[in-house]
């Protein structure tokens, strides 16, 4: 007799009238393969946990976004947001597809240069640029996005010293009707700060104002806010043309397009409520095209979308370490990855699928990571089939901000693998070793020896 597949015995109280209209199950199908490569073989070859990126999905996301915007607007340029994911192989996929680089620190700036991005195609954002950073950016002819007056004054001085005329944009924040309003980056539109900065730049004649930049928020669920922002940016650009006869070469609408991840506390799943790229494109392009630019004055549209282009291309594979019962009767499952490498689980309810076949019965479960910390919770509540120790799970939408915000805490960070469009796997980052971590540590001579009794 062939034995049946074992599934942990579960009993679940039935509560009438408690189901929501979407039912109680979270997952209907196991995810056994990613781009045709089996999860089991990936873990067997590279270990668990493991980040996996789909190159095919990344390229498809960018091509779709480009097509969507270019169908509506004649001059569109994407710049890959390094902070979203700056693994060199990931960056180069986007660069191969024509994206420039958008960086927010010298570290990212150097990475972009190292990846071969020409200096004049690196947009230098961020509030923290040292004098040396500014000098390098001037030398490389990179557009510098000025965040505050202190930077504007320093840059003007440095430009004079270097006898150069750097290409700059100002970062503009504004009320787009959303809450909270992001007013920490750049100069405010409504209070006249933006015009004050523009006047200073153009009156000095020491900087070349080539662009206007805004970053109105992150994970924006309201596309209309981009329409408001684009209209205000266009108003500034037109005002600059009228007042100074200076043509603004580009309007940079920043990033912030949402991915299909589900924010904590959201009643509906992200996939049900997130606007599509065309929703964003429609309002932005319409606002710019209707603003009143003469044909030759129409600025290029720059976009620094990160999350929406990579989140669904990244997966985190992991394994079940153990199951336990909490004192209040809830089931808890301990996984081999925690908030240290899935930092985004602090604000997302990540979709998590079992990677093997399962039955029709499910139970409510808390998913914990392996860290010896109470905050190490991957999902406070998820309805999953019973998982046994050693079973594998797949975390979806783990491409954005996971790798760049991961923390090395009590354990080593895992390897990262990319699956190319032919289904071949490539290690794009080895797993960390103790040697990597201790490489920069120094031991004072007097601490080198000790005796325990």
């Amino acid at each position: 007799m062939v034995k049946k597949i074992y599934e942990r015995p579960i009993i679940r109280p039935l509560n009438s009238g408690m189901m929501n209209k979407f039912g109680t199950r979270t997952e209907y199908l196991p995810v056994t393969h990613i781009d045709g490569v089996s999860v089991k073989s990936l873990i067997a070859q590279y270990g668990s946990p493991l980040f996996v990126f789909s190159e095919r999905q990344m390229r498809e996301n960018l091509r779709n976004a480009k097509r969507t915007f270019e169908n509506r607007y004649p001059k569109v340029q994407f710049a890959w947001s390094y902070k979203t994911n700056y693994l060199n192989a990931i960056c180069n996929v986007f660069h191969q597809e024509g994206s420039w680089a958008e960086v927010v620190s010298r570290f990212e700036y150097d990475k972009a240069l190292h990846n071969g991005v020409p200096g004049d195609k690196i947009l230098f954002n961020g509030p923290d640029k040292t004098d040396d950073d500014l000098r390098i950016a001037i030398k490389n002819n990179s557009p510098i996005h000025i965040d505050h007056l202190d930077e504007l004054y320093r840059l003007t001085e440095i430009a004079s010293e270097m006898n150069a005329k750097p290409r700059v944009a100002i970062r503009v924040n504004m009320d787009t009707g959303i809450y909270p309003m992001w007013d920490r980056f750049g100069f405010n539109y409504e209070t006249g700060q933006a015009w004050d900065a523009i006047n200073k730049i153009l009156a000095s004649g020491k900087l070349e104002l080539v662009g206007l930049h805004t970053h109105i928020g992150t994970y924006m669920l309201t596309p209309s806010a981009y329409g408001v922002a684009a209209a205000k940016m266009a108003d500034l650009a037109l005002g600059i043309k009228n007042k100074f006869d200076t043509k603004i070469q580009y309007i940079d609408m920043g990033g912030g397009f949402a991915s299909e991840n589900t924010l904590k506390g959201s009643y509906l799943k992200g996939s049900d409520i997130v606007p599509s790229i065309s929703d964003y494109a429609e309002v932005i392009c319409t606002a710019l095209l209707n603003a009143g630019f003469k044909n030759n004055d129409l600025p290029a549209l720059f976009l620094e979308t990160g999350r929406a282009l990579i989140d669904n291309a990244g997966f985190l594979l992991g394994s079940v370490i153990a199951n336990k019962r909490l004192s209040d009767g809830r089931k808890a499952t301990i996984l081999d990855f925690g908030v240290n490498i899935l930092f985004t689980s602090f604000w997302y309810d990540h979709k998590i699928s079992p990677a093997q076949e399962f039955g029709m019965h499910t139970e409510d479960t808390v998913l914990y990571g392996p860290l010896c910390m109470n905050i190490d919770v991957i999902r406070e509540n998820i309805t999953l089939p019973p998982l046994n120790a050693g079973d594998h799970v797949v975390v979806h939408h783990a491409g954005a901000y996971t790798v760049t915000q991961s923390m090395q805490f009590i354990t080593l960070r895992p390897a990262i693998v990319m699956i190319d469009p032919k289904g071949e796997t490539h290690v794009i980052k080895n797993n960390e070793t103790l040697k990597d971590l201790e490489h920069n540590e120094k031991m004072p001579a007097y601490l080198q020896k000790f005796k325990l009794t």
């Binding site: 034995k3 049946k4 597949i5 074992y6 599934e7 942990r8 015995p9 579960i10 009993i11 679940r12 109280p13 039935l14 199951n323 019962r325 009767g329 039955g359 029709m360 019965h361 019973p386 046994n388 120790a389």
Partner: protein
């Protein structure tokens, strides 16, 4: 360890407690265990029966059985001992 006599157990994994009005669902392996408990079988016999039907090792069965029966007790489906 015995399931209370008045607890109704269907063949499809539906359990009803007439004293409280509460109902529960169990998965097939849970159903098998409940059925064995209804027949007053001891853990050794139940383990033997389950392990001959399912691909399962000793330790896994024991810890899962312990957890499952703890939940049965928690839901007041077991006789007081």
């Amino acid at each position: 360890m015995r399931i209370k006599k008045n607890i109704a157990v269907s063949d499809t994994g539906f359990i009803f407690n007439p004293s409280s009005g509460d109902s529960y669902s169990v998965n097939p392996i849970g159903m098998d265990i409940v059925r064995h408990l209804k027949q007053n079988k001891e853990i050794v016999e139940i383990k033997h029966a389950i392990m001959s039907d399912y691909v399962c090792d000793d330790a896994t069965f024991e810890k899962d059985y312990y957890d499952f029966t703890m939940m049965l007790r928690n839901y007041k489906l077991l006789e007081d001992e």
